[in-house]
Amino acid sequence: MENKKSGWNRIALILALMALAALPNAAYSQAPAISTSWQGYSVLAFMISVFVLALTYMAGYLLNSNELKIMAHDELYQAIATAVMIGLFVSVLAWVNSSFSPGLAVAGGQSGTVLDGATAFNNGLIDSTVSNYQSYLEKLVKDLGSESSKSAYCSFLGAGMNVVICSNMNSVRGTLSLAYNAVSFALADLYAQSWILQISNTMLLSVLLPMGIFFRSFKFSRAAGGALIAVSIGFYLIFPACVLFGDMLVRTISCSTCQYAYLAQPPDAISVPRCNPFDPSDSTMMGFFSSVMKDNHFYEPILFHVIIRCVLMTIFSILVTLTAIRSMAQYLGAEIEVSGLVRLA
């Protein structure tokens, strides 16, 4: 009875291996060039790990070692579990992309995958908004410095006097500099985010995911493999989805329910007036101060874009992604410590 059962097990194992051998063909049929398809790499990594396990099983058979055979057997289940998880990931990816495509056309400015939408949104934010604010504020602080540094000098019979009448313009210099710094660092933030999206779009799944599948198939490297798979899925799917979700939140809340409809408008265009160092009349200056400091149509839209759209939403995306990575890694057999990365974020 026991022998009969063992025989069936072997037949089942052989059939399973034969079925697995068909997987590369399936990958080829979906993507003609296996060298450019992450699905192909993943199947290849899976096949290599199954091959190594088969060798382990054969070694166990040769040495008549039950331990080796049981180990190969258990690890094969782990490899199959990995394949199932990757299959699940592919399905979720397809579902998310197909379900969110119509929304992405609005959020990202183009239809396509979640990643395409997030990339288009991020590039748009950089090019059309934050870069413009940055160059605008840069011009303002330069002009302000130029005008406020004027000092008049009069002399008569050796006696002279230096009058620094324009220096009162410096009263807004600190505030403008602070705004300029904030916008510049928001831009750095978005550039770093564009790097994450860029590598997710090009190499993340072709490099880290197959490595993860391969490593996860063996007991001694399961944690590393699980961590790699979790990082790949997190940054490929969760992160861009969070970027778009964050944008949607901001769009929904900022203009409809609050009284700050002008937040989403560009800041008022102001320019630094020309200062005459011999004319102490300050009526022109007062108009300038008023437009910079008193009128909230200048600073508040800038701060809204910097603090809410750039800094807060980036932190939100990173935090959610890292939390998801940590949870996924636990299911994939890895206990990872992400607090270091959270601090970096």
Partner: protein, 364 residues
Amino acid sequence: MIGRRQILYFMVMALMPLGFTFAQSSSYCQVQDLTSLTMLSGLAVVASAFFIALGYMLGEILQNPKLLVWAKIEMGQLAVSALIVILIVAGLDVFACNMHFSDVEQFTGVTSAQIDSLNIPGSANLVDASRAYATWLVGFNHDVLVKIRYNIGRIELRAGTSMWNCGSDTGGFISCLVGGPGYSQSKYSGEYSIEGMLSSLLNTTTASYLSAIFILFTLNFLTNGLFLYFLPLGIMLRSLPFMRGFGGALIALVLVMYIGYPVMLMADMFLWYPSYTVMHVDTKLGGALDETAPLGGGLGVVGAIMAGPPSYDSTPDMIFLSATAFFVTDFLLAINFIVLAAAAKSLSHMIGDEIDISRLAQMV
């Protein structure tokens, strides 16, 4: 009648010198002292076996069953340690030393044109290729640092420049000739604000530069045998009472740092470097800067006055370069350590005490 366990034991013992010879023949990626390391590992096995044999003899003399059992268990554990060493040496040989850069290139589908500027020969092994990448990374961070510093210097020059206006604003050109009234102006003094922002970028990039140096030096220290001597030490400790866990942890650390670390660095390179040109990093970085060239050229101060204050590079470009340096050095390094910490933790748990190298990641 020889049992299966004895056959397995003899096979391990027969394979052990083979494994050591294997490592010696490949000269472990130019590490000169690997020969002595493998000898030390072998010596550690022999010494441990001798120590255990002494224990066994003592057990026989004293007719102490506890000592006899201990010696038998430790002999089995010694065989396990020897097997681990063989696997580590073989792993180092296959993954770190004999896997060529061109093979990995082919596997990832990255065309050589994308990666050519790193100047890594296709025949380079994984350790050499990751070292070449780490060296390049230090150079890249340094270039970004120099660019920002150079522009801070330029802005400092510009912002400090003041001029005397005595023309149309103050009664015409004649007033300049008779020393009449005028006003002074520091036309570029507003750029002190830009300088402040660039100084913050300089701080961030300096941190990235230090991280890049940390990567390179760690790799250099590793390949020159920093932790390799933990291997024989681990084998010895695994055979001592109450020290098996610690010995196993040391062996796990060697495995993770010697195979995992270069592999993750290579993965970093293949992750981001193909986008180097696509993201216009090369264009934004520009050519090498000559920091020693005088501002006014051959004419000195006169030339400097005639040329006017030097202009500075685009600030969004510098922000982008600083963000790139941070991302490719600090962010990816942090991810590397997350993966390595997970691997070290589970591996050491499997063969010994749990170790936690996540502190290292936090330090980074």
